[in-house]
């Protein structure tokens, strides 16, 4: 089975997974209003990472430093031969070093694969890295790819690192789509006005084990398309529902502590997810979104939200959805703003993105009960 060996989160709320979990559990948010930042003319709410908290030195961009520091911190917790060609790097990012475009000229590490190779090479790893660039669902897709590579014996260890750095490119793009909230986002709420963007890096290292024992196990995952629209979710939640249905073939709904939803707080995303969850028969399962703490961290989101969900289950907690007050979606999913308690040992990570893609994955602590 596929087990988690080590992990890390670097965000404005902390530089370890533990610091991040404690902050989130206490209700802290990294979202605030930024005026005149990064050359974006219109003020915007976002969670931005101060580069000065990064200790990595050398000729690296902010994106690369975030990835390297996150992987380094995770590696210190485990005994993985990172330089071996049996260790596979899987990078999850949507835009990598896109801010270099504004500088003009030709930067080789504008190419995601070249940047990924630079990150892997920092750890003396010479194996060709994979970059999963599947919009907002990249972080869950990257973990699914890691699970598959390990199951098939294509590698002994998989280092999955998700990250994105905000730039005028991304911020103005989301503003032009009218997807950005003028205030801290409010997932699943009646008054939700859109998403906030965020910066983070998150790493998870997976390996194989005979028995899960006290480890976190990645049980299964699936990716499905809506076949409906390139920038809007399906009104029937088709792809998200199909991904959930596939995952439920290997997971018992009564074992699920909660669904960690995408919950971006856009009108259409949250509505769509409520429909997909309802169609999958999970209407009574607690649902939460972490976007009120971090905003949408894009390539990092799928990894970061998986790791915090693991901490929450370990702590017998369903993290409350910050910004939520009154349910504003058509299917009555079980969202609360307050933390709840749980004694269940598994959860589902659900996520959707542009290009009509959707992913769901199930994780469980320890073996089958």
């Amino acid at each position: 089975m596929i087990v988690k060996l080590a992990d890390n989160i670097i965000s404005p709320l902390g530089v370890t997974t533990g610091e991040n979990y404690e902050a989130v559990k206490a209700g802290q948010s990294a979202l605030c209003l930024h005026k005149g930042v990064k050359g974006v003319p219109t003020p915007f709410f976002a969670s931005l990472l101060d580069e000065r908290i990064l200790s990595v030195e050398g000729d690296y961009t902010k994106f690369e430093k975030m990835c390297i520091q996150s992987v380094e911190t995770a590696l210190a917790q485990c005994d993985v031969d990172v330089s071996s060609d049996r260790t596979l790097f899987i990078i999850s990012t949507t835009k990598g070093n896109v801010s270099l475009l504004a500088e003009g000229g030709e930067h080789e590490n504008l190419l995601l694969g070249v940047a990924a190779q630079k990150i892997a090479n920092h750890f003396s790893n010479r194996r060709t890295p994979m970059v999963v660039s599947n919009a907002c669902i990249s972080g869950v897709c990257a973990q699914i790819e890691a699970m598959r590579a390990l199951t098939l014996g294509l590698c002994d260890y998989a280092v999955v690192v998700g990250a994105d750095v905000q730039s005028p490119f991304i911020v103005t793009g989301f503003q032009s789509l009218k997807a950005v909230s003028p205030e801290a986002c409010r997932p699943f709420d009646q008054e939700r006005k859109g998403l906030n963007l965020g910066e983070a890096a998150a790493t998870v290292i997976y390996g194989t084990a005979e028995r899960a024992q006290d480890c976190w196990q990645m049980v299964c995952g699936a990716v499905r398309n809506d076949a409906n629209h390139i920038s809007g979710p399906s009104r029937t939640g088709e792809g998200s529902y199909l991904a959930l249905r596939s995952v439920l073939q290997n997971a018992n709904p009564s074992d699920i502590a909660f669904i960690s939803a995408h919950g971006t707080a856009t009108l259409y995303n949250d509505e769509m997810e409520s429909i997909a969850i309802s169609r999958a028969g999970l209407i009574d399962t607690p649902v939460g979104s972490l976007k009120g703490y971090y905003g949408h961290t894009m390539g990092a989101a799928g990894v970061l939200e998986t790791l915090l969900s693991m901490c929450a289950v370990d702590d017998h907690t369903v993290i409350g959805t910050r910004g939520f007050e009154r349910l504003g979606v058509s299917c009555p999913v079980s969202v609360t703003s307050e933390n709840r308690t749980t004694d269940k040992r598994a959860f589902i990570k659900l996520i959707s993105g542009f290009g009509g893609c959707n992913a769901a994955a199930c994780f469980r602590k320890g073996g089958e009960e």
Partner: protein
């Protein structure tokens, strides 16, 4: 019997001397004639597709991948079938959505002419192409986009094999689709089914042969 039964190769490159761009279009090894390189994709669309005006909204990467997928699926000749979740689209390249990224960047470059374009921005993700193909053909299976440091047959064969661990997947529209500008691109798309499972080395060699 080869694992890759239908494939399409499209290449176009503008030489740095400003001369006539060189191009090549072959479908299942047969050469397809086109009017010229500068309008290659639009010419192919008009001559062989023509019923999908959304083509004109697409960025260069999506135009390339869409035209190629249409010709490939016509060659396969199973367009009436409902594939549902049984067919996925998993594509690879090195440039991600760089051609459209540059076009979007132009719209925010000048503070005095600052008009960020939402219609360009939506294409600044490479996987939007997998979405375009899924929408056109009603494919509900897995879609994914993997960026590699360079064209790499072994990494592609591994990626394809990994997708077939999904038990609902029967066939995959897959391959390399790299686009640097309207007149500089390189594509090798093909269809494979679950018989590639256990035959990854063969698959890798077939991809190598077709890429030459």
């Amino acid at each position: 019997m080869s694992l890759i039964k239908h494939y399409i190769r499209i290449k176009c490159s503008k030489t740095c001397y400003g001369g006539i761009p060189e191009y090549q279009v072959t479908l299942d090894g047969e050469k397809i004639e086109a009017a010229g390189a500068d309008t290659l994709l639009t010419d192919l669309y008009k001559a062989r597709i023509g019923d999908y005006p959304k083509f004109y909204k697409m960025d260069p990467l999506c135009r390339l991948g869409f035209v190629a997928s249409e010709l490939l699926l016509n060659a396969e000749n199973r367009r009436e079938e409902q594939f549902g979740e049984s067919r996925g689209v998993v594509l690879f390249n090195a440039a991600s959505s760089l051609a459209d990224d540059r076009n979007y960047q132009e719209t925010i470059k000048d503070p005095d002419a600052f008009f960020p374009s939402p219609s360009l921005f939506v294409y600044t993700l490479p996987n939007v192409l997998t979405g375009e193909i899924a929408i056109r053909n009603h494919y509900y299976g897995e879609t994914n986009f993997i960026v590699l440091p360079h064209f790499d047959c072994a990494a592609m064969a591994d990626g394809i094999r990994m997708s077939f661990t999904d038990r609902d997947l029967r066939s995959l529209l897959t391959g390399w689709v790299d686009c640097y500008s309207e007149t500089s691109f390189d594509l090798l798309l093909f269809l494979v089914d679950s018989e590639v499972v256990g035959r990854e080395v063969e698959l890798q060699h077939e991809i190598e042969k077709l890429a030459k």
